[in-house]
Symmetry: C2
Subunit: 260 residues, 2 copies
Amino acid sequence: MFSPDSDSASRPRILITNDDGIGAKGLRFLVDCVSDLADVRVVAPDRPRSGQSGAITSGVPLALTPVADFAGAECYICNGTPVDCVKLSLHVFPDSRPQLILSGINHGSNSGISIFYSGTMGAVLEGCVVGIPAVGFSLLSHDPDADFSVCRDEVRRLVMQVLQRGLPDGVCLNVNFPLLPARGVRVCRQARGYWTEEYEWRTGADGCEGYFLTGHFVNAEPQVDDTDEYFLAHGYVSVVPCTCDQTAYRAMPLVESLCL
Amino acid sequence: MFSPDSDSASRPRILITNDDGIGAKGLRFLVDCVSDLADVRVVAPDRPRSGQSGAITSGVPLALTPVADFAGAECYICNGTPVDCVKLSLHVFPDSRPQLILSGINHGSNSGISIFYSGTMGAVLEGCVVGIPAVGFSLLSHDPDADFSVCRDEVRRLVMQVLQRGLPDGVCLNVNFPLLPARGVRVCRQARGYWTEEYEWRTGADGCEGYFLTGHFVNAEPQVDDTDEYFLAHGYVSVVPCTCDQTAYRAMPLVESLCL
């Protein structure tokens, strides 16, 4: 079993990022959760970058700027997206490739189809693409001052397990926490669903009118009992193993009949 | 069989977007390819938005601005990402929901893991999420003046097939064209791979120094003969059926043993 008391020479390295930006409470909490387990490097967006998915920045110069005194961890801000944070960190520090990438803890859930839009999970999927085990953590509260303490034990347990045993090639984890202490942990699949009533027309703070993103998530399978949405609604921590291979293997015969 | 000569009352509706922006030759070519098959609405980014993945814009007012005289199609520009274009179009025109969403034709390939970063495919996956059949088209040339004529026949054939027969629920298509007239069409899986040597430090046009995105794609399975990378390299059109369900079903037992 991985021991949190390993001496420094053999300590694993963890890269931590998020999409709520360097100032988010959930980021600092996550660093604090695992800093005795590994050498932690934080590379986080300089501002909130929610909804950035797997977006990358081109044509604009990126930089890493050191931040002093970040919960005892080596820390940098990056003027890019969460995926940029991961890519640029791996480029700038090639000799200290992390054994694990963590993202979060996000303020707000990333269950169901939210994995597609989520910058938190974008960073995690980038880890998956480059062959580094990666885990995204999210809490079901958008409150900037949310109480993350309910996540601590499970975050530490999962991190120790993944550091010791790794993850299958091409697989990463999307972990969501309910607000109250959980009834347990469930490994499950991504719920099907979509967002609805997505825009409202209004005047923004700067006086400009337009459509502002809003709306709410519709669970397309509310009666089904094997999805992340179901388990979160019933008080469990949901763990969805995710892949960056988006091939719909089962659809191949039908698509062949369309194309050939 | 779907007939291109159907009268207007029964004509299907196609929404077309891209990530190279309203000025891209590939967008205009795609509209021209299909405008006799359907009533076409174009909603495209007002500027290039490559690498935007599934990113969505929040906190900034979005708008659709009509564009006159766009290859005979109803046309709007949007100040958002490709996914914003799809979402906002569906919101603003609820009574003319399209039967098909097309994205492209992208200047440059979107094979392999590029689906993760691609704004072209972000728009396609958004269609998949909301239950509208969707197809992304890309040509293996970044030349702004690329010759798209090699794509025409296959684009029309696929569009007619999907209009007539639809796609399986939760499945969309990622279609890539080689530069020369193709030897045929192959339905295949997404190649495994990653990007390498991703940044160079230089001074940008505005005098600002920093890391600029660059690099090249590494096919992690060059010897394998069932991937999109393989078939493109051998002169075929690649068609990858893609899913927006990123659950790694096969990894569930192992992840359960980590978590429980």
